[in-house]
Symmetry: C2
Subunit: 413 residues, 2 copies
């Protein structure tokens, strides 16, 4: 077993691993397995499955990566498992043009991209990247039949999305009910101690437990992590909802987006997107509650921590400086108003847009505000009264008008 990076007592270790988890099935088993691991100096095997399609990781995805890191911090083996077996098949019915089979080369390339991105959080030296085609291909017709004999149709169909599709009279193809079994077999082959995933993966992870038992293995512990709320604080973070922060965004953009979230969401992000312990977070909360600390400063600290993860400390500090320069001290509102607009085919004249958004009373007042240097888009001062804004693509723009008026403009598809 590698020397853990963090020196913690047993209880601290358990607390560290539990942090942010929605469910641990079963906690008692995790405690026991952790004990054994420490005693025998044999690291635990932690598996997390990833799609073989080209990744573009946003903060939502990093929740699970961070939990993997926590296990890594304590000296355990994490397996970044790329589910390429299904990817190599594509849409086997051949009906969808989108799910074309991927070539080995494409999968390898996607794996590289994953690695570039996950190594911002995980230690690349210590992360085992594996591909399930390695054993699922080998399994063969006979192995698949045997695997399929270990589970009942009824139990598979209990899965929420299957239940819903049955209720809606939507067809379920037979191969779809084989996939949870294939994923479960990954855990058999790898002899996993723990499998993690989002709460939406809970069913599949539990099948792994059952199937491991069927193959005479101790059942893996299932640990589910929440689906991170997007910057709107309501919906799950996703590209299509345009409420996400990609880990590849420039530092200034990440800073601005983090500063725009609510305080409640800020605590959530601390829990799920940083290594701060629950105790540390609780302490900050108390400081804010008693007025000892300005929540804005705690939020800036969060923004810097996140930027440090995906860029570096220097970039984080520069982003903070720039943000402070634009939104000079004391100006920053605790909450911003939020406006939504559909994408526009033509560029929009800024003064008119400010009126539409209720940030100016007339085009001429808007022009005057621009001339006076009081209008910022994403922290950048606009000085041209003829400025036209490109709203053809979904994005998020923070608009500042004068000293106190802020607006988060969300452009939607």
């Amino acid at each position: 077993m590698r020397k853990p990076m963090k020196q913690m007592s047993f209880d601290e270790q358990l607390e560290y691993l539990k942090k942010g988890a929605v469910e641990i099935i079963q906690l008692e088993e995790l405690r026991e397995r952790l004990h054994q691991s420490i005693k025998s100096k044999k690291p635990l095997k932690i598996k997390v499955g990833f799609d073989p399609t080209a990744p573009d990781i946003h903060l939502g995805h990093t929740v699970i990566l961070r939990k993997m890191k926590h296990f890594q911090d304590l000296g355990h083996d994490v397996i970044f498992l790329i589910g390429d077996f299904t990817g190599l098949i594509g849409d086997p019915s051949g009906r969808s043009k989108i799910r074309k089979p991927l070539t080995r080369k494409e999968i390898q390339k996607n794996a590289e991209t994953y690695k570039e991105q996950f190594c911002k959080i995980l230690d690349p030296e210590k992360t085992i990247v594996d591909f399930n085609s390695r054993w699922l291909g080998e399994l063969g017709s006979e192995g698949f039949i045997k695997l399929a004999s270990r589970y009942t149709v009824a139990r598979i169909l209990e899965r929420d999305d299957f239940t819903n599709r049955i209720a809606a009279n939507q067809p379920i193809a037979v191969h779809e009910i084989l996939y949870p079994l294939a994923q479960a077999y990954d855990s058999v082959f790898l002899k996993c101690d723990v499998e993690m995933g989002g709460t939406d993966q809970k069913f599949n992870l539990l099948v792994g437990r059952d199937i491991q038992r069927e193959y005479g293995l101790p059942p893996q512990i299932v640990l589910t992590m929440p689906l991170l709320e997007g910057t709107d604080g309501v919906e799950k973070m996703s590209k299509s909802l345009n409420n996400y922060i990609s880990i590849q965004e420039p530092p200034g953009e990440i800073f601005g987006k983090i500063m725009s979230i609510t305080d409640a969401l800020m605590w959530r992000y601390y829990e799920l997107l940083t290594d701060s312990s629950l105790q540390e977070i609780e302490k900050m909360k108390q400081q804010v509650d008693t007025g000892a600390v300005n929540p804005r400063d705690v939020k800036m600290r969060l923004a810097k921590m996140i930027i440090t993860d995906f860029h570096d400390r220097k970039a984080a500090e520069e982003a903070e400086e720039e943000f402070k320069r634009v939104f000079s001290k004391g100006e920053l509102p605790e909450e911003m108003q939020e406006k939504r607009l559909k994408c526009q085919p033509e560029p929009q004249w800024l003064p008119k847009l400010l009126v539409t958004l209720n940030l100016a009373s007339s085009n001429s007042q808007a022009r005057r505000l621009i001339e006076q240097g009081g209008v910022y888009l994403n922290g950048e001062r606009i000085e041209d009264t003829n400025f036209e804004l490109d709203l053809t693509k979904p994005e998020e723009i923070i608009i500042k008008v004068g000293k106190r008026k802020f607006c988060r403009l969300i452009i939607e598809q």
Copy 2:
């Protein structure tokens, strides 16, 4: 295409193939495919699947073999397909000790036994024996997933026995829903024109049609044959119900059993167990109805035809002679009374048994009847008044007492 053994007009051919079938899906397609085959001189491919377990063929099984013969008579290719893929797997859940996997050697041995038996009806030179492990093994994990993607769970679960099990809350293992797909894939690989089976196989045969379409092949024609009634004329012929005639039974026993069936069942047996055309059968029926012919003679003819199939003409004639000798002319009842007894741990004293069966009024009358040579068991005269009958195993015994009293004694488990 081989030269057909029978020279028939197109309509006669179709009539010959239809004879006895419960359903043909679709008849129009069979007509068309038959036309094409004759025109192109390319024989049709007819598939029938058989269990890889050791066979002991009774008349019930010969119904489908005879239908295969009919196709063979017209020059088509029949494939005797042994479903060894599943046999090699056994009970994949490992829970049943009965369904142990078979070895290749065992399967080969069972195939030989099948051949010995089916060649009484089919032309062994013209019968293609094949094994589905040949292609189902090759299919691999990927092929199986692709196959599974071509069908929906809902449609598979519509199968009667699945529906019943769901209603009864009995579990269905996932591999069980893969088997109909595997069987359907046999038809894809073999490019079958026709698949036949008992009416209980209808669902599986229809899946073959669908899956062939999915793989871009013209769908096979499905032909179902009835499940033959046993000698009791009520239940399906089966070993466990002890109402069967094995093709390995001695000629005398087959003769006796056939003579014991009702007239109605006799016509059914003519239809399903002989090559007589419906016209020929109809003619005999009329002759019996008008009293021109004694039904007993028609039944004896049936018995001889069946014995000729499984032994030879000479054996059939000897069996007839022996039967006539014992049941001298005019004695044979149209119907026999039937009695059922459970197996007895101890041998039973014959006179007492005759009283129990109401064939004698007292033990002393029964003894007298035996002494006078008036008691026969299965056509064999019993002369010893101390005779004890072994009733430890299920069997059927025809008892004749005096000139007119007959009884079919069925010993049940």
